[in-house]
Symmetry: C2
DNA sequence: TGTACATCAGTGAACGCGCGTTCACTGATGTAC
DNA sequence: TGTACATCAGTGAACGCGCGTTCACTGATGTAC
């Protein structure tokens, strides 16, 4: 009954290996080096097999982007889980973002670098939905704090800008040049600063 | 004595027109549509002339990026000029960032989308220097507020993350989807929130 | 003044490489009956 | 049990288009003397 199931284990393992290779290829050579031939070579999967699983080079990039973003959002949700106060949640979120960036450099890089990549428009609707789904737990948590009067009253989107803005900007800077910003200083400085920006009842 | 001068007026006008065309081409079709043939067609400048002035397609992109970033930084410096207090400067900076994004959408888009473009590595040293020069006035101003004990003590880079992080993230979101974030709400919300994050003496 | 020369802006047909993609194929595994 | 068939994963040589780039050229403007 292999082919009645959603995805065969063999095929899935291949897909994972291809996404890993895609992220590694980009990490090494940027968009200029990101070709389907390079991904095929790195992953040791044939060109035909790549097209069998992903349909196109953009399909590979979209899949790698989607998996990376899901992992980031899951890491953030996990970092906030079990936090009792709004402040602890906010600070854990910021630290979680910085930690993911440093611990999974290549994936974080791929997330940020894909913002205006050519694959985004054609996969926008599907990718947008996946992002929204993975983002739900965080939305619920911080939305709850807003309703409880612990965070400034703002739309979910605006709250997100305040919460991840400084951390995301720091990550971007660090990803493009590790010497440009000190992550250790960011860990000391950003959680408290972000909290000051979003808390209610000063 | 035309050719003894730094740049002829005729040549400079052509270069400006090419940069305008490059930004317009990207704004319309993203990186997928950004080819030297498209820029030649849009600017009505021949391929040979493009190579005469810019050397390569990456040279065109780098020049357009540099000009756009300089304009942004000049707009921010102008927005802060004449502000008397640290708070007024911070809020003007944030509003200035949002205003530039909305008023010069295509240029703002080009700035953000170029972060990991293929032309960045090879032009990094020169572009980095130009960015630093245009950034100086802001560095001096806000560095002065830090020394005066009006803003939190942090490195210039970290202060920059706090000052432009939320506004930059908002801009990015709006540039990729205008419905995703409300710029009017951002104008109401972000200046005060950014001020809360960076002020000293709560 | 005229002649020769230098420099720069600009032209566009042509080239050739690299890229994404195709396609006819094999092999493995499972179903139908 | 055997035979025929279906589905999926995987292969890699080959193709052809589009892209960045080249190059021999013209024209305009200014200098040298």
């Amino acid at each position: 009954m292999r082919y009645r199931g959603a995805v065969s284990e063999q095929g899935d393992e291949t897909k994972q290996r291809v996404m890993d290779a895609a992220i590694a290829v980009f990490s090494k050579g940027g968009w200029a080096g990101f070709t389907i031939h390079a991904v095929a070579k790195k992953s040791r999967v044939s060109l035909g097999s790549l097209y069998h699983h992903f349909g196109s080079i953009d399909g590979i990039a979209a899949a790698a982007w989607s998996r990376s973003l899901t992992r980031l959002l899951e890491a953030l949700a996990k970092a906030c889980a079990n936090k009792r106060s709004a402040r602890a949640s906010v600070e854990a979120l910021v630290l979680g973002y910085l930690d993911f960036t440093e611990r999974h450099r290549a994936e974080a890089l791929f997330i940020h670098a894909s913002s205006w990549a050519s694959f985004m428009p054609e996969h926008a609707e599907r990718l947008g939905g996946e992002k929204r789904r993975a983002f739900m737990p965080l939305l619920v948590r911080f939305g709850g704090y807003v309703e409880a009067g612990e965070l400034v009253s703002a739309s979910p989107a605006m709250l997100e800008m305040l919460l991840i803005g400084p951390a995301a900007e720091t990550a971007r800077r660090w990803l493009s040049d590790e010497r440009a910003v000190d992550l250790a200083e960011a860990r000391r400085c950003l959680p408290a600063a972000t909290w000051r920006a979003v808390r209610l009842d000063s």
